[in-house]
């Protein structure tokens, strides 16, 4: 077990290192931030002063060495655009993204499970067929286009919900959250549904497959024979058992939600990390791009590591295989 974790840990460190090199090396080859920072009228002296202040005059390996040394200390450079610590800007934007991702996750469970269980209990019913067709659409529809259509229908045509921004936020344990105010909730609804759409389809499929398998199990028959109400059989006996695969997969998919929030945040102008990275790519704000990519790589490496370790605890075969290989 320890050997396995150490091996995985080493692999994770290697991935982070390789990524840091790729990201830093690559980003430095693209565009010229000096052009963007210095006005056209600036003379040579002014240009050189800016280049020096950004550390762009040193050779790339010195820049990279500095970058790594600083990164280890939590200093990922100052944003060219905002003039603040890139890391600070991203951390500041993080709660918005996590709030959105968690809301989407919640929605996937709240909407997906009932629909999936229904489709599983009555596979031949017309409603079930509609649900399953809907889930195929949910997989095929491009997220950004659905977001646009949401804005068009609910914000422009019906005028029920706001289309952009995060709304009013209130601090909760030092983090500003928007789900505690009505205005914030109204702003949260459309982006969260949009982001959740893909996961709702996924949960529907998982819940349906699980239900169809479990309704034929002996313990369900026994519960029925005991005279329990259908409601209790479904809510307790069935639900507990279909939750296992659903929870596992959703845990795995949380990282995907954070990655896909880039799209949703851009559509709904949600002030999270995803919107920040798109703005930064367009503005060639290198420190922010590098910092974002490093943070997101870290987040994924940690998620993957946790999942692998959890799996190896639950399933000894994984661990044995890896030690041998």
């Amino acid at each position: 077990m320890t050997v396995f974790i150490i091996r995985r840990l080493m692999q994770s460190v290697l991935v982070v290192f390789v990524m840091s090199f790729l990201v830093f090396g690559g980003v430095n080859l693209v565009g010229d931030p000096v052009e963007m920072m210095v006005s056209d009228e600036a003379d040579q002296e002014e240009r050189e002063r800016v280049i020096k202040s950004m550390g762009l005059d040193k050779p790339w390996y010195v820049q990279y060495g500095l970058f790594v040394t600083n990164a280890v200390q939590g200093d990922l450079g100052k944003s060219f655009v905002y003039g603040e610590q890139a890391l600070g800007i991203i951390v500041h934007r993080m709660p918005a993204t996590f709030e959105l991702a968690l809301a989407a996750l919640l929605m996937a469970v709240v909407i997906g499970i009932p629909l999936g269980v229904f489709a599983g209990l009555r596979p031949e019913a017309r409603t079930s067929k509609v649900i399953m067709t809907g889930s195929i659409l949910g997989f095929s529809l491009p997220t950004f286009w659905v977001g646009l259509m949401f804005i068009m229908i609910f914000a422009v045509m019906l005028g029920w919900l706001p289309s952009t921004g995060r709304g009013e936020t209130v601090p909760l344990m030092g983090i500003s959250v928007s789900f505690l105010t009505m205005d914030g909730l109204a702003h949260l609804l459309l982006p969260a549904v949009n982001l959740a759409l893909f996961k709702i389809s996924l949960v529907i499929r998982l819940a349906r497959a699980g239900t169809r398998e479990i309704v034929h199990q002996d313990y369900i028959k026994f519960a029925r024979a005991k005279g329990l109400t259908t409601q209790r059989v479904i809510m307790v006996h069935l639900m507990k058992n279909i939750m296992i695969p659903v929870v596992t997969v959703l845990g795995l998919e949380f990282g995907g939600l954070i990655a896909f929030s880039v799209v949703t945040e851009t559509v709904f102008a949600w002030p999270g990390m995803g919107k920040l990275i798109i703005d930064s790519i367009q503005g060639l704000d290198r420190p922010v791009i590098v910092a974002y990519l490093m943070i997101i790589v870290m987040v994924f490496v940690v998620i993957n590591l946790l999942v692998d370790v959890l799996y190896s605890i639950l399933d000894p075969r994984v661990r044995l295989q890896d030690v041998k290989g």
Binding site: Q11, V15, L22, V23, G26, V27, L29, V30, G31, I136, L137, F139, S140, L141, P142, T143, F144, W145, L148, M149, I151, M152, A155, V156, M157, S163, G255, G256, A259, F260, V262, V263, T266, V267, I277, I278, I281, Q282, I289, L293, I296, F300, N304, G325
Partner: protein
């Protein structure tokens, strides 16, 4: 020479179908056409590909011929007539281009990018996967570790990292899509090649002292094709969707290459003022393309999967 007709004549009483030899292809085609939905999807896909290939002949106007486009015609609703009497069936976009034409050209770019990246990714992924399965040992471990690591990141994130690094451009997005996709092909091919490798015909080929390259590509690869084709179709749909998303985010194609995703993105600016059609119709075209490819892929999987054979 009318001998053929004379030879056939005595059995002419039989229905034509019975004379036809049952080739593997015919059996496959019949099984595929068994599903009405898949058949419709295949026809739709055929029409879309036809339109994309012959875009310059089919489309009512050339949307990128600046002499023909008038800014006076911009943002016209569907069905309105242009200054010189032509009807814009789906309206015009912000620059006064006929939306039907812009969509046909956009379809060409979207499909082109998707198919192109799919083919290259398939070639790379299949080769790497075959090599991993055939040689095994350290080579396999190394390759599959890379595949596993890459697949643990969502494809949009990998593409975003790459494009943040590479910048915009048709070539750049094709490179990014290839890098995103190759791992799926590698894993698929390795899976089926592992099974095939231990069969007698590979042993026989090895005994005949045929070179590695020949065994890999002439003996092993053809037998790993069915799952590869299925993954290829689904991945192409995925690539088209991903390209549209990236272009929408403004990190994909440049403005000079307006794919469906970019058309939707352009329309986004006008959406809040109620001019829905500029985003809506290209989105529908994108959706129809993706759904029909997915349906064809699903049916291919059912037909090509030997376990489901009736």
């Amino acid at each position: 020479m009318n001998t053929v007709a004379e030879h056939v004549a005595p059995v002419a009483g039989l229905p034509e179908a019975e004379i036809k030899v049952e080739t593997p292809f015919r059996r496959f085609a019949a099984a595929f056409l068994d599903s009405k939905v898949a058949t419709v999807a295949l026809v739709v896909l055929g029409i879309l590909i036809f339109m994309a290939v012959f875009a310059s002949l089919i489309s009512p106007t050339n949307p990128y011929d600046l002499a023909k486009v008038s800014i006076m015609d911009s943002k016209m609703p569907p069905g309105s007539a242009s200054l010189d009497g032509m009807t814009f069936w789906l309206g015009t976009d912000g620059a006064g281009r006929d939306l039907v034409s812009a969509m046909i050209y956009g379809l060409r770019i979207s499909l082109g990018v998707g198919v192109m990246s799919g083919i290259v990714a398939m070639a790379i992924g299949a080769s790497v996967g075959l090599i991993a399965a055939y040689f095994g040992g350290r080579t396999e471990n190394f390759i599959m570790r890379i595949v596993d690591i890459q697949l643990s990141f969502p494809s949009i994130l990998v593409a975003l990292i790459l494009l943040a690094v590479l910048g915009k451009g048709v070539d750049k997005i094709i490179i990014a899509l290839i890098i995103v996709q190759w791992a799926y092909y590698a894993r698929t091919v390795r899976g089926s090649a592992l099974v095939e490798r231990n069969k007698e015909y590979i042993e026989a080929a090895t005994c005949l002292a045929i070179g590695h390259k020949r065994i890999l590509f002439r003996h092993l690869l053809p037998n790993c094709l069915p799952p590869l084709i299925v993954v290829g179709t689904i991945q192409t749909a995925h690539a088209i969707s991903l390209e549209a998303t990236l272009s929408f985010l403004g990190v994909g194609l440049p403005v000079s290459e307006p794919s469906l995703g970019l058309l939707i993105s352009n329309g986004f600016d006008y959406m809040l003022s109620g001019k829905y059609w500029i985003s809506f119709f290209p989105g529908v075209a994108l959706l129809v393309t993706i759904v029909s490819i997915n349906l064809v892929g699903d049916q291919l999987r059912d037909v090509l999967n030997p376990r489901l054979e009736r």
